[in-house]
Symmetry: C2
């Protein structure tokens, strides 16, 4: 990046109305804008799904964080609450793929994800920032949720620069002070990084990144009628980002039978037992751990 | 109790539709009724709030577990979904205060409540059973949510015999295999106790009980406009059933200020940071720890 490339930063909280840390952080920033003040860029805070936040629900009609396909944004026949809200956010922050805004979208999860950056592209700027943040805070993990030949539909896909921040474990509908403070500190660290890049500072950190690359999703065991037939196995629960080897316990049926992972190679599951993913047929996401070397900018 | 006093047992799950352990346990029992089979009594399983379970919400119109005041049950003008459902459950299990059914109502919570029995009366049979269960399993806690001169409105208040089982911590909307299995084992232990009492067995256990008596509820810090102004303090989070002394940290405001407990004596908080209680203005319930000696029956 050349100097002063980042002029506008947007921070979105409450994209899911029952993920309260992002919502209350954005409200705190809106009431105390000096917290975000940096000399070389301006920062805007937005509430992604205001009505869902009022109702303390993930969404009203459909998941806002799946509404950002270009074709959907261009389709005037889509008039669900979130489809309209997606168009409004896109109007403000887009156009998708050609925006110079740096975007942070704040999420939380019932899974043991710690502080996760969710990248939806391979932009070198994001990879360097991720490498910097993991170097400064070893609790930060990097998950790249890209799928070959498949356009990403997340809020964060509007902009090339930036990513979603996913923190957990935390139940839906509550605040946890520890995660609130860790998320807040991470945001300040990101803003400070952007400021230093804009100032032309030569930031010293290893150009190396451990990244968890999305492979596929795994559903819960189901009955022939499609009903839930089991749970995450106690030995798998909370083991996000830990290696899972073929033959190791994955699920426990309601009758007490252990079902094991039948893949052919070690994988690293994440989003294990995320509440909102039951209805999506996702018990966990399977990733591959990758060590990546980055070019100096 | 004399022999064979318990003829009917009812187990209710899904009184709150997003508390999934009770729901799936009841569905398991309905599909495998032999699990509950005991020679001296019959056991019925019910889903408390079927529509809320379908929608994976605590309730549709109003909290079913606050609908069991006698005056409400007799009031034909109350026609909300849960008010009608309460009348149907009361019709089946009541009349309130004069039913011979032994009732278990299964709940779960985001608070660190372990395996809690919630008593809503002082019936000697319940106290002895509670003493037996805490003796057999030291993880079991006993909370008596009675308030002087105030009628209890919980589902479990229909019957004199029985109580609610409250397990946690668990996020709303998910299953945790460990708590599922612990709750299931606790239910079998209760059924086995009832069977032995009915058979006239002389059960050997200390006639002593540690009981947490409800004192009052404490709300979150609020702004003058009534908005949330802070969170449970990290040092208080998860410390259910642990002593809280005057001057110890209770809340952390969004600005980072610690608010301390300003009571005059040691108390034992429970239901700390229960998701469903935010809307009720309850950050935690304050109890007093009591050691009680019971008369031999």
């Amino acid at each position: 990046m050349s100097n002063n490339d980042i002029c506008n930063v947007a921070i979105i909280g409450g994209t899911h109305g029952n993920e309260r840390i992002g919502l209350y952080l954005v409200q705190k920033f809106q009431q105390n804008p000096t917290l975000l003040l940096r000399p070389s860029f301006s920062t805007t805070c937005l509430i992604g799904n205001p009505q869902a936040c009022i109702e303390n629900q993930r969404y009203i009609d459909t998941d806002l964080n799946r509404c950002f396909l270009k074709a959907s944004l261009d389709n005037n026949l889509l008039v669900k609450y979130e489809e309209k809200q997606a168009k409004a956010l896109h109007q403000q922050l887009g156009p998708k793929g050609n925006s110079d805004t740096f975007l942070l979208d704040l999420h939380s999860t019932t899974a043991n994800m710690g502080l996760t950056l969710i990248l939806v592209n391979d932009h070198s700027f994001n990879l360097h920032l991720a490498a910097y943040l993991t170097y400064r805070n070893p609790l930060v993990r990097v998950y790249r949720w890209t799928q070959a030949d498949q356009e990403n539909a997340f809020v964060s896909s509007i902009c090339q620069l930036g990513f979603a921040i996913e923190v957990g474990p935390i139940p839906q509908g509550i605040l946890l002070a520890s995660l609130f403070q860790q998320t807040e500190a991470l945001i300040y660290q990101i803003l400070d990084y952007l400021e230093q890049v804009n100032q032309g500072s030569d930031l010293s950190f290893p150009r190396h990144l451990t990244l968890f690359q999305h492979l596929e999703v795994i559903d819960f065991p189901k009955t022939p009628e499609g009903e839930l037939a089991g749970m995450i196995h106690p030995e798998c629960q909370g083991m996000d980002y830990q290696p899972l080897n073929p033959g190791e316990p994955l699920f426990l049926t309601f009758e007490g039978q252990t079902l094991c992972y039948d893949g052919s190679a070690t994988v690293w599951p994440i989003f294990i037992n995320e509440a909102a993913y039951y209805e999506k047929g996702i018990a966990m996401c399977i990733t591959q751990k990758q060590d990546i070397s980055l070019q100096h900018n």
